[in-house]
């Protein structure tokens, strides 16, 4: 049985980053992926004359040449080259008015709304715009951004967890570290005196992490918002498949191996620790250390005998709640975005502006809460002349497919897609349906098939008040099941999002590399 220094299970964003960093450190590395492509969520697919982006909305971690963002820096460290395209918008939030809404007005699209907030990049510009929309909110917004300026330094100071010494260091950079970390987004913004309506607009990005204002910690939300607002965002030129292939190349060029269509079906144990894997039910491969980019829920069920699983891992997995699941509709349009009347990259359409009310709506298909993106706003040539591509996203929580039989599935998903499309048509007073040339609809079973996660979530576990990013970071080492087996991906400390997943892989690699050094 051939034995590698490191076996990485799963070539999602976390697994790719982990393998690339291990290869770069000179470790013999085998990356195993059940699918025939790298990236998990970070991929693309072709229908007719369109190539669709399956999941990426925007990367907060793409900065400026003077101030490169977190994702750019991680790609630079790996040596992976990607043609980044910058987006200088943030989001637009549109809340269509209900009958009898007193504060309703007619917006630029001729739609009766209670909120229409198109927010600019830059702390100052963002805060001014917020003040225009909700007088009296400028100061609180600027204070909130002020709190977040040294946040990344504080995160770095937390080190690799396990120790409160990190907290002491973090406090040096951020005197309010403990206050922010232990309070929710709503509590933080209220303490700053931000008017409720401004808080709602300010909280619009909650859905990117899947935790609403009453459960999301103030610290992490501000860190995320900071990334989006400070320098704008970015996206790869050739869909996120470009990012995945760029890392794939680093791994191969560095002498690492990637086996696609190669599913780990069993972990081989020796002396109470993982010592190898079985691939596709037949081929055994040995490993000294393991990095696992598969959700723990399925790892314990599918790859281990129960007797080999540390009991604390079972309790931990059972204590956590599976995060958001998504429904996405991909549309290849035979009209340009100008012809359709699209002016924004991201529009968040919501029946209510309150993040907790939005969260509550997401228990059902389809709640009326969805995001519509037009990639041509950032990459004009991402589709042939005379066309554009749209990407609609809705969110749900829980086992929402209950009661759906295989024979009903096509009708069901077509109905959900139709509801989402009509919601966008109404909220933006535009016509979509007559111009659909290509359509694909992805529901939780689609994500389950490609990502192999519980409920099909791309998001891991809910970043809840009690299981938020900071305690996850501080307890990272004790959260890992064996001293030679580290998890990475959206289930880990920073939760979902490309940047968080890449970070989890880089961190798992770093700990793995250090462990080899200590052994020698």
């Amino acid at each position: 049985m051939k034995t590698y220094d490191v076996i990485v299970i799963g070539a999602g964003n976390g697994g790719l980053a982990a393998a690339a960093n291990c290869v770069n450190a000179g470790l013999s590395t085998l990356l195993l992926e059940r699918h025939n492509l790298p990236g998990g969520s970070a991929s693309s697919f072709v229908r007719g004359r369109f190539e669709f982006e399956p999941s990426l909305h925007e990367l907060a971690g793409i900065g400026t040449p003077e101030e490169p963002g977190m994702v750019e820096k991680m790609f630079d460290r790996m040596g992976a080259k990607v043609d980044w395209r910058k987006d200088s918008s943030t989001f637009r939030l549109v809340v269509p008015a209900k009958e009898g809404d007193k504060d309703a007005f007619v917006n630029e699209n001729g739609v009766n709304v209670t909120v229409d907030a198109r927010m600019p990049v830059g702390f100052e510009a963002f805060s001014q715009k917020l003040d225009e929309l909700v007088p009296g909110s400028y100061e609180s917004a600027m204070k909130a951004f002020g709190l977040s300026t040294r946040m990344y330094k504080a995160f770095d100071a937390l080190g690799d967890g396990d120790s409160l010494a990190g907290v002491v260091k973090a406090l040096k950079y951020m005197p309010d570290f403990m206050r922010m970390t232990s309070h929710t987004l709503n509590e933080g913004l209220t303490a700053l005196g931000m008017p409720k309506k401004a808080q709602d607009i300010f909280s619009t990005y909650w859905c990117y992490m899947g935790s609403p204002g009453s459960r999301f910690d103030f610290m992490y939300y501000m860190a995320m918002l900071h990334g989006y607002i400070k320098n704008g965002t970015g996206i790869p030129h050739l869909r996120s498949h470009e990012m995945s292939l760029a890392i794939d190349k680093v791994i191969r060029d560095g002498g690492g191996e990637i086996w696609y269509n190669s599913e780990v079906t069993k972990i081989i144990m020796k002396d109470g620790k993982p010592a190898g894997v079985v691939v596709n039910g037949e081929k055994e491969v040995g490993g000294r250390r393991f990095i696992c980019n598969v959700a723990p829920n399925f790892v314990w069920n599918d790859l281990f005998d129960k007797a080999d699983i540390p009991p604390a891992q079972l309790r931990m997995t059972n204590a956590r709640k599976i995060a958001a699941t998504l429904t996405t509709v991909y549309l290849g349009m035979n009209k340009t975005k100008e012809e359709l009347g699209i002016k924004d990259y991201s529009v968040f359409i919501a029946p209510t502006a309150d993040s907790d009310e939005q969260f509550a709506l997401c228990k059902d298909f389809f709640s009326g809460y969805c995001i519509i993106n037009c990639l041509n706003e950032i990459i004009p040539d991402c589709t042939p002349p005379g066309t554009c591509q749209l990407f609609l996203t809705a969110m749900t929580f829980g086992d929402v497919m209950q009661g759906i039989e295989p024979k009903d599935y096509k009708k069901f998903k077509t109905k959900v897609a139709k509801d989402m499309i009509e919601t966008c048509e109404k909220a933006l007073n535009m016509s979509i349906q007559p111009y659909i040339e290509e359509i694909e609809i992805a529901l939780p079973p689609t994500f389950s098939r490609y990502l192999n996660t519980p409920l099909g979530t791309p998001y891991g576990y809910i970043l809840d008040k009690w299981d938020s990013m900071i305690p996850r970071t501080l307890q990272f080492k004790q959260d890992q099941p064996f001293d030679n087996f580290i998890f990475c991906g959206a289930t880990q400390e920073r939760g979902d999002g490309y940047g968080c997943a890449y970070h989890s892989g880089e961190k798992a690699a770093k700990l793995t590399i250090e462990a080899f050094k200590e052994e020698n």
Binding site: N36, L37, S44, V46, E51, P175, D176, M178, R179, S182, H183, G188, A191, L192, L238, R239, H241, E242, L245, W259, Y260, N261, S262, N280, N297, W300, A312, L314, R315, M316, N318, A319, T325, N334, D399, V400, M401, I404, P406, K407, Y409, K410, T414, K418, Q433, Y435, I436, E437, E438, I439, P444, P445, F447, S448, G456, W466, D467, P471, L474, Q475
Partner: protein, 402 residues
């Protein structure tokens, strides 16, 4: 400077780690749920493999047979994957030591799959390796291995017009037969006017079945178009000739949008595609079934000159590397298969991307009409072996067939 959030108590931080640990400690020590409805549906609709048994063989014409396939629980398949009418399955066989697979449209109704039956209909082609093999070896009781239903040739109400003109040539009737059944069963809701081209009346497949379906609902109409039938023996109601733009216009609605769906042989596409072009329909209203495996790169105008007749391919599958030789007019996939090396494949037409592989060195030719790779693929040296023809010796990395 005073904190702007000094009203928030920092001491709330202190018990956080303990609280988290306490939550973990209080949770049950059982295995977490290993499945959920999303996973159940994903596995039911997209099984890795379906192990089936042939339970009936029906002669459709002198060179065409239908095979009824049912689950083979002995090998782990207890139910068939449900599918949307128009999908195909890939059939996996070994012919003379050579692993091969071909895509065949499911000709039976989606509803029949719930009762445990798929029907595949195969026309025997003289130089068709797989169809000859199937005719020679498939009989009642024979075990068969197929993929999950796949493909994009299906009706989509949010995209397609409510009126579809189906252009079928010969055994290209199979996905339409499934669609017509789905309409009659109430599983699909659109009007299908089938213009079905056959050589002569003896070669019409499923004539009785199609008549019966048209009698069940006014949403289905079938017009037989015979190319070689003498005028004097042409049955009433049938047309003599080919599937032309004129004929389509005659049967399409005059003042409402309609979609055109096409399925047939490559030879049929060469005739019908320019006819469809004449209609000036928006692209969204023209749907094409798979092109099928392409065999003749030399016939294409941009195929380079001076390509060596034989090439060497050094191929790595997982940790095994071999060097094999083949004809440069064969696709990379065919060369590997002829050398006993299986390649993961579904459509064999460039489209599905299932055979996505790495080209490490050397050059390949990809016919423009089969170029469905992702944009970044070309930049990073990824190819679809099913429609890549070697121009030089190659070094490639191919995933295993699992």
């Amino acid at each position: 400077m005073a904190s702007p959030i000094k009203s928030l108590d920092p001491k709330r931080f202190l018990p956080m780690l303990g609280d988290r640990q306490a939550r973990f400690n209080a949770a049950p020590e059982k295995l977490p749920a290993g499945s959920d409805r999303a996973r159940v549906l994903a596995k039911a609709l997209h099984p890795k493999r379906q192990y089936l048994k042939i339970t009936a063989v029906t002669e459709r014409s002198s060179d065409c047979r239908s095979y009824t396939l049912e689950p083979d629980p002995d090998r782990g398949t207890s139910a068939l994957a449900y599918f949307s009418a128009g999908k195909y399955v890939s059939v996996f066989e070994t012919v003379g030591g050579m692993p091969v697979n071909r895509a065949y449209s499911i000709s039976s109704a989606p509803a029949a799959s719930l009762a445990g039956k798929y029907e595949l209909t195969v026309r025997r082609v003289d130089d068709g390796l797989m169809s000859r093999h199937i005719f020679d070896t498939w009989e009642v009781g024979r075990r068969v291995e197929v993929s999950a239903p796949a493909g994009t040739f299906e009706y989509q109400p949010l995209r397609d017009a409510p009126f579809v003109v189906g252009l079928a040539g010969g055994s290209g009737i199979t996905p339409f037969l499934s669609m017509a059944n789905a309409i009659a069963d109430g599983d699909e809701d659109f009007t299908l006017c089938l213009l079905y081209g056959s050589r002569d009346k003896e070669n019409i497949l499923f004539k009785d079945e199609l008549d019966a379906l048209a009698a069940r609902t006014d949403k289905i109409r079938v017009v037989h178009v015979l190319s070689d039938e003498p005028a004097e023996t042409l049955p009433a109601g049938m047309r003599k000739g080919f599937l032309t733009a004129e004929l389509i216009k005659e049967f399409a609605p005059q003042d409402a949008p309609y979609s055109v769906f096409v399925c047939g042989s490559q030879q049929m596409y060469r005739f019908v595609d320019p006819e469809i072009e004449k209609l000036g329909l928006p692209k969204k209203y023209v749907r094409h079934e798979l092109f099928g495996e392409f065999h003749d790169p030399k016939s294409l105008y941009d195929y380079p000159k001076d390509v060596p007749e034989t090439v060497k391919i050094t191929v790595t599958v997982m940790d095994v590397t071999k060097t094999v030789e083949g004809k440069s007019t064969d696709s990379v996939m065919q060369i590997l298969e002829k050398n006993g090396i299986g390649v993961p494949a579904r459509c064999r037409s460039g489209e599905c991307g299932f055979c996505h592989s790495r080209l490490l060195s050397g050059k390949v030719y990809v016919p423009a009409h089969l170029e469905y790779r992702r944009l970044a693929d070309e930049q990073f040296g990824c190819i679809h072996p099913c429609c890549s023809f070697p121009l030089t010796d190659l070094e490639i990395n191919v995933p295993p067939v699992k």
